[in-house]
Point group: C2
Chain length 585, copies 2
């Protein structure tokens, strides 16, 4: 069946004189998570994972996957004669480099709505030709419809700034520039609107153009209630059909157009190129605005973390109360997910990771029904979970003992916890970026000859994406634009060092931090972090030999803060449990 | 007299239709320290400091100076009607910005041999016109001659690599590119030659062009002994008169020319521009090679630090033995300078800083005869000194108690020492740059709300400049090219955090560190530092309350290492003294 689908695609390619067809798992908005409608790679390859690139040539078909999908791609695709390129392995080339090496000068067909301007430019720069053409949609049967969830409004008591005020601030910065936006989070943020088109991220499919103080929102009318429409009209938002976006772009002429080549699709660029416009490739200032949470957002986020802390606390109590050998990782995930919904989460913020012992050492592991591990009354459990609350987005990892654990596990847990605390306790000079403070969370682990192969922290949205740029905390390249972003008061970051020993165990501790102003003196403005997450760490996993006085004080202060924050909202029984779990060491 | 000189210059300017004449304290090689011959700003302004820019307009004359010279410039220049621009003060513009703001489009005269290509390009870019013309030399009487010190060779047992091998390595990288070098340290390094043209840095005035595996050295023949000349000829070095350099450049045609626009003068660019050449603005690969000390250089550098340690030890003993109220800062500087020469230093590596109490809080302070402070039997003395040995260049700062000191002084000394030790003890992942590890030396001070307004560390040359790029350790901009340079095994850095309380006291602790490979494992290659400096810290200034176990162990290990390193080379009396000074705490 897959072979027939590929052959049908190849027939189309021949008719259009296309040498290679490029199909990816992105949507029209280049989102991290995408609606069902865009899961088109699966149709032609059988591969059902969330991220892959398919290159179809007249002769061969290649699928490019990362480490988490090596096995799955082999199982799902090899039988159809599709070659699996395992990114990250020695000699495996990224699609762009692969095309340069193996198909120099080839005519590459792709859906320009699903590839970034930057990608297309790189392709052209290396000598390939591009045909932006959708060859696949007509071949797919019973395709999921394009999501059209109801769009709803975020009240100013959550957003902290009205959409009118946000629009005016941005328009003031843009002056005579036209600003084209494809990114769904930026659109949702600017307009204080949300939807349910994408799992885990409360956004809706739409395009946006800001021009001469006008906001054009390309999104179908029937997705709004009449009340909301009236409000949007009152605020001067001009709503046009989703499908009319590209035609509209063609009407923009002789303007300065500012757009982020990494976050705006190539089809937009083609449409705008007809109008003799000048392009300015810059990160959207909406992203900068969004990354700095205003005081009302901050107040709400604190509340979201109290809700989340209660759910986690109840999960810890449940876990303490059961015979661990009777439950699986999936049972635990279901339990914590339901507890989170009970305290008011609208959704999870990502697929819950619950990983027992060695499973926690597998990058991107998450438990699947039928395949996941059963727990037992020894060893350690790592759970990395989060919720979407109207008040904010959470993301937290705890690693807990299920019974007896090795001394080595305690040693590394303690080092990871110490590393996490070191960053959360940091006081630093304003003007630094994430690359410059990353080492604070790593130096203790490095001293012991271990490292973790992921960033220390990512930005977190406010009832939006759990991974939110542009700022982050890592020591490699910073973002897609490779721009270093200054850490500023109001930014929210995860702080999540870990250790991973393949085949043995994995440990991670993760709190969310809110960057705040600290003292200002003759040396300048100092910044520090307020910890948002309110969940105890497992004292059974601590080996005091690996903590110093500073870390012990930091841990005790944190636990006291957790107790004080949650105590007013929980039952007496829960309070007693929490008291014990947060006792000073 | 100064007024007359300025008027003579203005007459020349009028004849040449020049609006503004630009004169700086640089030499033809854009050196940090310069030969006497180039101290021409003094002739026209009376200003005798080491760094300043003079802008002469037909109406006004401006001198631009930094913080250390505010007072001196006022005293020396105001009386001649010269306006003093104090860089670093609110509203004070750098010369480039000053010209843009106040003399837009003006014709600026300057000596193209004493300004970088980059500076000239910036000037042109902002709309000024440039006339490269030396209007000042003909007006200066009794000018010091251009230095012509004897040039001598560094034996391979010091250099570790013969000049032939170095030249071949560089030629291999250059392939068909022509490489133009003005920087004196790069020339001295590549050719294993040294001279005495400049105080503190054993270099000689010369230009160099590498072309098709040939080395052209522009330096007058009579500066070499016959033996050395023969060796240079044997190695294929082509020696041409210093003055013939620019004419030679004009013979280079239709070539790819690689040069560092920050380190090659504008006159070179003008000469090369006549030949239809293509320019590549890059840091010289000689600088990269020079920054990584080879194993033989490393062995020698260790020895230089033993010599230096002995001199410092003797200074500490002397200081301990005298009535402090009988000596001045200058007496101390003379004493340590002579002790250093006695152990074999060829020269100092910079003007010795000896600063008592509040003087140590003045940036760039160094004691001057007649003006310097007398010491007393209380308070603290900071001395930042270094030597030029054939084996290597040293740079060390110690702060010691002269008697009773306040608890606050002890607190801050201990924090500074702890900060210095934290960096020297760091084990880190290869691939990082100095910007990413700077925080390790600052975080403890930041936690106490203080900072130091200078870099944590600079690179150090090998019997060359004590401040050597390109790598360094700081959190602001990294180098003139604003390129981040990866830290690599074989690089030598200073590690010199400090605290400065104006009007009260200043503290700095400085050791030199040699970057080395540490373990390599599944996570990659780790790096760490070997401490080169071998001089005890004053235990009387330590307040244990501000040290943790890790710092105490690091200090004790360091002191043991100092004892072991110096003991074989000193007298019994000195050994007993050192034993006491390096006792474990």
């Amino acid at each position: 069946m897959i072979r027939e689908r590929l052959n049908a695609l190849k027939t189309q390619m021949r008719q259009q004189n296309i040498d290679v067809y490029y199909l990816n798992t992105s949507d029209y908005h280049l989102s991290e998570y995408v609606p069902e409608y865009f899961k088109t790679v699966a149709w032609f390859s059988g591969f059902t994972g969330s991220l892959a690139t398919l290159l179809v040539t007249l002769k061969d078909t290649y699928i490019f996957v990362d480490g988490r999908y090596y096995l799955q791609a082999d199982q799902q695709c090899l039988k159809y004669g599709i070659k699996v390129i395992k990114l990250g392995m020695e000699g495996a080339l990224e699609p762009l480099a692969f095309l340069k090496a193996n198909y120099p000068g080839a005519v590459v067909g792709l859906d320009g709505k699903r590839t970034s301007i930057r990608f297309a430019k790189e392709l052209l720069k290396q000598g390939n030709q591009i045909r932006s053409i959708d060859l696949y949609s007509s071949l797919i049967q019973n395709r999921a419809p394009l999501s059209r969830s109801k769009i709803y409004e975020i009240d100013n008591s959550y957003a902290g700034l009205s959409r009118l005020r946000k629009v005016k601030l941005i328009a003031h910065c843009l002056r005579d520039m036209v600003h084209v936006v494809n990114n769904l989070e930026s659109i949702a943020y600017l307009l204080n609107l949300r939807g349910d088109d994408i799992t885990y991220t409360p956004v809706f499919l739409a395009y946006m153009v800001l021009q001469d103080e006008d906001v054009y929102l390309f999104c179908d009318l029937e997705r709004f209630d009449a009340d909301l429409l009236e409000k949007l009209y009152a605020d001067g938002i001009i709503i046009r059909p989703y499908d009319s976006y590209y035609e509209f772009l063609k009407t923009i002429e002789k303007r300065k157009v500012v757009l982020d080549e990494h976050k705006v699709n190539y089809e937009s660029y083609l449409a705008l190129s007809q109008g003799n416009n000048a392009f300015y490739d810059r990160r959207s200032i909406i992203e900068d605005m969004k990354s700095i949470k205003n005081p009302i957002e901050q107040e709400n986020i604190r509340m979201a973390h109290i809700y989340d802390g209660i759910a986690e606390l109840r999960f810890l109590m449940w876990l303490d109360s059961i015979d661990k050998s009777t439950v699986s990782e999936c049972d635990c995930a279901r339990k914590i997910n339901s507890l989170r919904m009970e305290v008011g989460a609208k959704d999870l913020s990502f697929a819950s990771i619950v990983a027992y012992n060695e499973n926690a050492a597998i990058p991107h592991y998450f438990p699947e029904e039928g395949k996941c591990a059963m727990l037992d009354n020894h060893g350690i459990l790592l759970f990395d979970t989060g919720g979407q609350y109207l008040e904010g987005t959470t993301d937290i990892t705890r690693t807990v003992a299920l019974g007896e654990v090795d001394e080595e596990v305690k040693k590394y847990f303690t080092l990871v916890l110490k590393s996490m605390l070191a960053l959360s306790e940091l006081k630093f000079m304003s003007g630094l970026n994430g690359k410059q403070i990353d080492i604070v969370a790593r130096q203790e682990l490095w001293a012991h000859g271990v490292d973790y192969r992921h960033g220390t922290g990512h930005g977190v949205g406010n009832y939006l994406a759990v991974h939110e740029g542009p700022p982050n905390i890592r020591y490699g390249s910073t973002d897609s634009r490779n721009e270093e972003v200054e850490l500023k008061p109001g930014m929210v970051f995860s702080d999540e060092p870990g250790v991973y020993f393949v085949g043995r165990f994995g440990i991670r501790c993760e709190n969310l931090l809110l960057c705040q102003k600290d003292e200002e003196n003759e040396y300048g403005q100092f910044l520090s972090f307020e910890t948002l997450t309110m969940v105890p760490f497992d004292l059974n996993l601590i080996d005091r030999d690996y903590l110093d006085e500073k870390s012990i004080n930091a841990l005790n202060r944190y636990h006291q803060k957790v107790y004080d924050a949650l105590a007013p909202f929980i039952t007496e029984e829960e309070r007693a449990y929490l008291k014990e779990k947060t006792q000073a060491i």
